[in-house]
């Protein structure tokens, strides 16, 4: 069974496309698309437009004039093309590797009976909670050719002239970036995989498909919106990531686009906004091309995988592959989480980063006794929690509105949500700042909590959107329509049916957004002047002053806070899933029926 057959198969449980369109045309909610699209453009496109305009102005502030100089300088500079090629090649390889690993682990954790699968979410939470700066530093220490722990371990057993592992290399950069990307991809895919109904797979098996063929030709294709969206987001996030390439790439002579943007913005001759904006246009163009490609590939196919006929979330029995799967979990946990987190914790206990003695809790005592840092913990938690909640809510409303009807507003909504992802944090922050300064009523809000939260929400919208997007594509409108027919009003149907079914994805999206906002730096540095510094700003201060061990201690405490919030979110998600199961009908325990090695299921 291929993807097209799936399209025809998913009709049961949903109403026909024609009658659906007719009904939707009568649906008053359809009229909401244009206002939502306009709001989306205003919110998400305006800062990007400011950056585009900034590429053609001598200064984005008052007193500038129009010019093509920056565009000409950037696009005739060979370094631009070298950095573009370097960035693209590393990004593609990194994302391909990490997506395969992420799909493997999300499948293990949601669809199999692999031992240790319960550890996967916690392990991924550790990976996501590790800030990229420290992930890069940790791996720079672990994978150092002369003194890295890994090489010291390997050379105990095998004789090498120099350490065989070198984190400061092309493949080192790819491997470390891929290890970290898996965590994000896992959480972004989790909701869609959890919402996946196994009825399709069973139908494929009844049609004679092997278990492996059923997985690759039925399960994965219907998850295309989620997988495609996450792949594109991962590519874009890598294209604009700065910390890990700067730490592991530059020693190997690798310079990526964000490094060049950083160079322009911090030039010794003063910030060159126009050149940085011009360079950012490359990122925006690549992102628009990728989103267009995704639209073309998805076409008009349906990806509904949830029906109103009851849940079917049985697991596969891996049989003799159970323990190899568990070993894969252990190995990934070791390299992606345990080793770098250990390095971070060791660093936080050291008198200085790299010390081999004199460990103590002095750095933690210093953090805990610092009133400003402790205040920043609370402030960061509030700003991140509120920002993440707003981002998920806005994404949900926008993507739901986009789903109502095809046409221009749908394209606008979809594309608008992607745009902020194309800009490195500081460039996006500048775009928001210029946008506020352009409009007199907003000028007075610069530097206030409003502008800070506004910018942070915009920065995380692409991430929240991907967490919501895959799941919303899987929920048929027929469920809401059935609710209307039963007398429920539209709002009740939306919040009571769609939102409840999507609750795992919404919580995952909130959690991921919360984690990212807790550690985001560029925007708070620019816009938190009157709110007091967020935690990341204190970390930046300590790090730039050479107090790496103090910065590590702050991050260890932040990770503990994030893990506590993660645990809370998981509890909420489990409770909501139970409600969801009740809502959709009693879950069928598949156990033996789900055994892919069982002849009876063929």
């Amino acid at each position: 069974m291929n993807a097209q057959q799936v399209d025809s198969f998913v009709a049961p449980g949903a109403i026909s496309a024609t009658s659906s369109r007719r009904k939707r045309s009568l649906d008053p909610f359809g009229k909401i698309q244009w206002p939502v699209a306009i709001c989306g453009v205003l919110l998400f496109v305006s800062p990007v437009i400011m950056i585009v305009v900034g590429a053609f102005r001598t200064t984005p502030f008052t007193g500038g004039r129009w010019t093509l100089d920056a565009m000409a300088e950037v696009f005739t500079n060979p370094a631009t093309y070298r950095a573009s090629w370097e960035t693209a090649s590393i990004a593609v390889v990194t994302v391909l590797i990490s997506m395969v690993i992420a799909i493997f682990f999300v499948t293990l954790s949601t669809r199999t009976n692999s031992p240790l699968r319960g550890l996967i979410p916690a392990m991924m939470a550790f990976v996501v909670a590790m800030p990229p700066l420290f992930y890069g530093i940790s791996w720079g220490l672990l994978g150092n050719q002369t003194s890295g722990l890994l090489n010291e371990f390997i050379t105990v057993f095998w004789a090498f002239d120099s350490g065989p592992v070198n984190a400061e290399s092309w493949w080192g950069l790819v491997a470390v970036s891929a290890l970290r990307s898996v965590g994000f991809q896992y959480f972004l895919l989790l909701g869609a995989f959890m919402a996946m109904d196994r009825s399709l797979e069973e139908a494929a098996r009844l049609s004679g498909a092997s278990p492996v063929r059923a997985f690759f030709t039925v399960q994965l294709p219907v998850l295309f919106p989620a997988i495609g969206g996450v792949t594109i987001l991962s590519l874009i996030v890598f294209l604009e990531s700065f910390d890990i390439p700067a730490i592991l790439g530059i020693p190997a002579g690798i310079y990526v686009l964000p490094t060049e943007v950083f160079n322009y913005l911090n030039s010794g001759a003063g910030p060159e906004y126009a050149r940085a904006s011009a360079l950012s246009l490359i990122l925006i163009t690549i992102m628009l091309l990728l989103v267009y490609l995704q639209y073309r590939m998805m076409g008009r196919r349906s990806f509904v995988t949830v029906s109103g006929k009851g849940d079917n979330h049985g697991t596969w029995d891996l049989g003799r592959w159970r323990w190899p799967a568990a070993l894969a979990i252990v190995l990934y946990a070791l390299f992606a989480a345990v080793l770098p987190v250990t390095q971070l914790v060791v660093g936080s206990l050291a008198p200085f980063m790299g010390a081999s003695s004199g460990f103590s809790f002095d750095n933690f005592a210093e953090v805990l006794e610092n009133e400003k840092i402790m205040y920043a913990f609370g402030l960061t938690a509030i700003v991140a929690a509120v920002g993440a909640a707003i981002a998920v809510l806005v994404s949900f409303v926008m993507l739901w509105a986009a789903k109502l009807r095809r046409g221009v507003p749908r394209t606008l909504i979809g594309t608008a949500q992607w745009l902020p992802a194309a800009l490195p944090g500081i460039v996006l922050g500048l775009g928001v700042l210029w946008f506020f300064l352009l409009l007199p009523p907003l000028r007075g809000l610069v530097g206030t909590p409003f502008s800070l939260v506004f910018a942070m929400v915009i920065s995380v919208i692409p991430l929240a959107g991907r967490a919501v997007e895959g799941a919303i594509a899987q929920v048929p409108m027929s469920l809401e329509e059935a609710s209307w027919a039963s007398g429920a009003n539209k709002f009740t149907a939306l919040t009571g049916i769609t939102a409840r079914i999507m609750s795992p994805s919404l919580i995952n999206g909130w959690l991921l957004s919360f984690v990212v906002l807790s550690g985001t730096l560029a925007i708070p540095l620019l816009l938190s002047s009157t709110t007091g510094g967020l935690l990341s700003v204190h970390v930046y201060k300590a790090y730039t002053a050479g107090r790496v061990e103090l910065a590590a201690a702050i991050f260890v405490l932040l990770m503990i806070e994030i893990l506590l919030v993660t645990a809370l979110a998981v509890i909420v998600r489990v409770l909501l899933q139970r409600k969801r199961a009740t809502y959709l009908g009693r879950p069928q325990v598949r156990g033996q029926e789900g055994n892919l090695n069982d002849e009876n299921t063929r």
Partner: protein
């Protein structure tokens, strides 16, 4: 223990309050309105200066006792700030750490929105902010009282309108790992590091990206201390790090014995924490980055800012600067690290800051051609 500590602290504060009340009764005129007590002996200033500071202090308390800084290196300078807060009770300093585009954008946004946040900007690149009109002229009276520098040198520490002035220099030299190399074997002139025998032994913060490595090599080149052939030698001998902090870590961990263009304050602090590192100055042509301070136009607490700027130039402030491993301009301040005084530091003869800025693109192009091998 902590409870006991708090109790003890409370008792000591009560004691201080009683003593302060008694002192107030005895010489009420020394206590400015709004609370707080200035200790002339601790400040170590003349009667005339004390009177000026007292007047500013009173005005500062009337402004609310807040002071907000923009700029860089606030963590390094924290002990200097703490000493100010201790000696001028009732005033609290808030810092915002920003550089480059972020710093410029914040200042532009403050001006455009009318919401001025900061009072003082501290930056080695102050000239660009001065030229953009963010500074207001102010000559701290204590600047003229600084001992141990001649008039010509002093005049080079500010612009004509006193839109900025320079209380300190950040010294850059050589960092060595003492477990890997004997400091006595390390050359004390820049030229020797281009010799092939140092290949693979030298670390450097990538000079093709903005930061300490680029700033120091730019100044060495523009002061004619070194030439392009020397740069090529360094490019051959050195391992580049994309981030200054990781370069220091590599030195501390013993991955390489030598770090070129290391900041003295960073190395001294690491050594103080037990790291096997030592900071070395050259016999001549040392690089000192002038740390410029300016009173911002539209500062919400201008009198408090003026008080602080004056504090930087009295002996108390200058000694605080020396204690953290920077180079104060006063000949009276003694370095606990046995560094020479400002006049004896044999700093390289640098061109004016405006010329360094104007030459930036050209120098970065040279550095990129030489250090990005294959580019």
């Amino acid at each position: 223990m902590r409870t006991h500590g708090k109790r003890a602290s409370l008792l000591s504060r009560l004691g201080c309050a009683v003593v302060a009340a008694a002192a107030l009764a005895a010489c009420g005129s020394d206590r400015p309105a709004g609370g707080g007590q200035l200790d002339r002996a601790a400040l170590g200033v003349t009667d005339a200066t004390f009177a000026d500071l007292k007047k500013l202090y009173r005005a500062a308390l009337d402004e609310g006792g807040e002071l907000v800084f923009y700029g860089t290196n606030h963590e390094v300078l924290a002990p200097v700030y703490e000493k100010f807060e201790k000696n001028f009770p009732g005033i609290k300093i808030e810092t915002h750490q920003q550089t480059g585009a972020q710093q410029m954008a914040s200042l532009q946004a403050d001006r455009a929105s009318g919401n001025h946040v900061a009072d003082i900007l501290q930056s080695p690149n102050a000239l660009r902010y001065v030229n953009a009109g963010f500074a207001q002229p102010y000559e701290p009276p204590t600047f003229r009282d600084v001992k141990g520098i001649d008039g010509k040198v002093r005049d080079g520490l500010h612009d004509r309108q006193f839109r900025y002035s320079t209380p300190l220099f950040a010294l850059f030299g050589i960092g060595v790992n003492t477990e890997l190399i004997n400091p006595a074997e390390v050359p004390r002139n820049w030229q020797d590091f281009a010799d092939g025998k140092w290949a693979g032994k030298v670390l450097l913060h990538d000079p093709t990206v903005p930061g300490g490595g680029q700033g120091i090599l730019t100044r060495l080149l523009l002061s004619n201390t070194v030439d392009e052939a020397w740069l090529a030698g360094i490019a051959h001998n050195s391992t580049l790090k994309g981030d200054y902090a990781t370069a220091v870590q590599s030195l501390v961990r013993g991955e390489y014995p030598i770090l070129l263009a290391a900041a003295g304050a960073d190395l001294e602090r690491s050594a103080g924490q037990g790291a096997p590192v030592k900071f070395l100055l050259m016999d001549k042509d040392n690089i000192g980055l002038a740390d410029k301070w300016m009173l911002l136009d539209g500062a919400p607490h201008p009198q408090t800012a003026k008080l602080f700027l004056n504090y930087l130039y009295i002996d108390l402030g200058q000694q605080a600067i020396a204690d953290i491993g920077n180079l104060p301009i006063s000949g009276n301040a003694r370095s606990p690290h046995n560094w020479p005084t400002f006049t004896d530091a044999k700093l390289a003869d640098l061109p004016p800051e405006a010329e360094i800025t104007a030459q930036n693109d050209r120098v970065v192009a040279i550095l990129t051609r030489i250090f990005r091998r294959g580019s």
